[in-house]
């Protein structure tokens, strides 16, 4: 399970369980190699009120971190350091640790900086 929720004006929650951590890790590793694939999101995933996203792409973008949606697809563009950090944190979760600290990275969303917070649901 992977769920993205806009949780406040400046925050997006990224919740995932163990399977979700493994799927996210694969996405991040592919993005690091400039490849992309998608994963299905939990049906409640939404970063805009009333608009639900069904799948997630993680894409490398060395210019800036940003998140946006295209119809029912959520696109997370991250630079190399953020992708590397994501691989590190997700690997920790797969080894049983919490996603700590919860702050994963800052991204631009509709010209506002929002923080993506990771929550590993054990």
């Amino acid at each position: 399970m992977i769920r993205f929720l806009k949780d406040g004006k400046y925050s997006i929650k990224m919740e995932f369980d163990l399977n979700g951590a493994k799927e996210l890790l694969k996405l991040f590793e592919l993005a690091y190699k400039n490849l992309s694939a998608s994963v299905l999101l939990d049906f409640e995933s939404s970063i805009e009120k009333g608009k639900y996203q069904k799948e997630l792409y993680v894409v490398k973008n060395d210019l800036d971190n940003r998140i946006y949606r295209k119809s029912t697809t959520l696109i997370l563009e991250l630079d190399n350091p953020s992708i590397e950090y994501g691989v590190h944190k997700l690997s920790e979760c797969i080894n049983g640790e919490d996603f700590y600290p919860a702050e994963f990275c800052e991204v631009s969303f509709r010209e506002t900086n929002v923080t993506i917070y990771g929550f590993f649901i054990k």
């Binding site: 949780d7 406040g8 919490d98 700590y100 600290p101 800052e106 917070y117």
Partner: protein, 131 residues
């Protein structure tokens, strides 16, 4: 103290530090993005806490007289070496701190920064609970 002009164009233009006039190297942009990496020291200060009323004073004590508001809930010293952060989610305790994780703990962040080619690396992030 420049925190009261944080959102102005002048503040952003004045934010290129440690460089010569006209140098637009993003590495020297005080408003550059900060990032954690696997080497960031994540610490939690359980021996003390700060009162909500003291947040502004703690921020000034940590950042010195010359700091600037970078974003909502984030202030940075003008030399780009320190950052004080208390985003709404931190203040409201929407996530936990510490290892083992103590969930839903309101807190602030005292952070030490190192400039990189595209922003700042957070070298140390100290969480302090709000009592």
């Amino acid at each position: 103290m420049l925190n009261n002009i944080a959102d102005s164009k002048a503040a952003r233009e004045a934010s290129n530090f440690g460089n010569s006039v006209g140098n637009s190297n993003p590495a020297n942009n005080l408003f550059g993005r900060d990032r954690f990496n696997r080497n960031t020291q994540q610490l939690t200060e359980w021996r003390r806490s700060i009162s909500p009323d003291d947040i502004a004073a703690e921020r000034a004590k940590f950042l010195g007289d010359d700091f600037i508001k970078i974003d909502e809930g984030k202030w940075r010293s003008l030399d780009g070496t320190r950052q004080f952060r208390v985003k709404p989610d931190d203040y409201l305790g929407k996530h936990g701190i510490g290892r083992p994780l103590v969930p839903n703990t309101p807190h602030v962040h005292f952070e030490f920064l190192s400039p990189t080619s595209n922003g700042f690396q957070v070298t140390k992030n100290v969480h302090v609970p709000i009592k």
